[in-house]
Amino acid sequence: MFSGIVYHANYLRYMERGRTNHLRLMGAEQQALFEQVETEGAGFAFVVRSMHLDFLKPARMDDVLDVVTWPIAVKGASIMLGQEVRRGEDVLVKAEVRVAFISGGRAQPIPKSIRTLMKADLIS
C-alpha cells in the first residue's frame, strides 16, 4: 500500500545527516581542530548510545524538511544533542540523542578542543 509518508526509521537517517553537518560546520569554523583530533585519536567517531524520539506529524513526499541540531549537554565522554525535523513552522519529529566518542574501537574522553567548541553552542 502506498501511503506517501516517510517511513519512521528514515528520520534517523535525516538526523544522522544533521549531526554530521553539525560537526562539519563546527569544523569549517575551526579547520585546524579536526586535524588535531585526528592526529591525537587516530580514526575517531561519534556513535549513538541512546535516543528518544517523538513522531508528532508525518512528512510526505516532496516535502522539504529542515533538520535542526543543537547540543543540550556536553560531558566527558558523551554529548546529548537535541534534534528536530521541521516543515516550515511545523515540528514533525523531536529527538534527544546521546552520542559517545569512540577512538580505536573504544569509548574515550572527548578531546578538550572539541568539548570546548561544543560547549560554546550550549543554549543555557
Binding site: 519512521h8 526509521a9 567517531a45 541512546s50 535516543m51 524520539l53 513522531f55
Partner: protein, 131 residues
C-alpha cells in the same frame, strides 16, 4: 524472531547501522501481530471489520544501543506488550545475540484507521493483554 545480519545492514564501521535496528524491531512487531493472528485467526479479520484498513503507527520510542552487532550475527528480536491502553500500546523490545543484550527499545504505537487515531477494537486489545 530471528534475523541474520547481512552486509547491507552494516555501516562503514562494519557493525549494524543504528537505524537498521529499527527495521529489525519493526519486523519483530509485525511478527508479533502475525503470531497473535495465528493464535486467533478470526481476530485480525474481526479487527479489520471493526476498523477497515487499520494499521499501527509508531508514536514514540526510547532506544538504548548497548553493544554492536556484526556481520553474520544471528539476532533474536523479542517483543512483549508492556501496557495496553484504549488507543495505543507500549511494547518492550529487545535485540539479543545469545545471552548478550544488544539493544533495548520501548515503543509506543497508536492504532490508526481511515487516517485517524482510533480506539483499538476490544477483541484485539484483549488478546494483547493476554499475551
Amino acid at each position: 524472531m530471528r534475523v541474520r545480519v547481512y552486509f547491507e545492514d552494516t555501516d562503514a564501521g562494519q557493525i549494524v547501522y543504528h537505524a537498521n535496528f529499527l527495521r529489525f524491531m519493526e519486523r519483530g512487531r509485525t511478527n508479533y501481530l502475525r503470531l497473535l493472528g495465528t493464535n486467533q485467526q478470526a481476530l485480525l479479520q474481526e479487527a479489520n471489520d471493526d476498523a477497515p484498513g487499520f494499521a499501527f503507527v509508531v508514536r514514540s520510542m526510547t532506544i538504548d544501543f548497548l553493544k554492536p552487532a556484526s556481520l553474520d550475527d544471528v539476532l533474536d528480536i523479542i517483543t512483549v506488550p508492556q501496557e495496553v491502553r484504549g488507543a495505543s500500546i507500549v511494547l518492550l523490545q529487545e535485540c539479543r545475540r545469545g545471552d548478550d543484550l544488544l539493544v533495548t527499545a520501548r515503543v509506543r504505537v497508536a492504532f490508526i484507521s481511515g487516517g485517524k487515531a482510533q480506539r483499538i477494537p476490544k477483541s484485539l486489545r484483549l488478546s494483547m493483554e493476554r499475551a
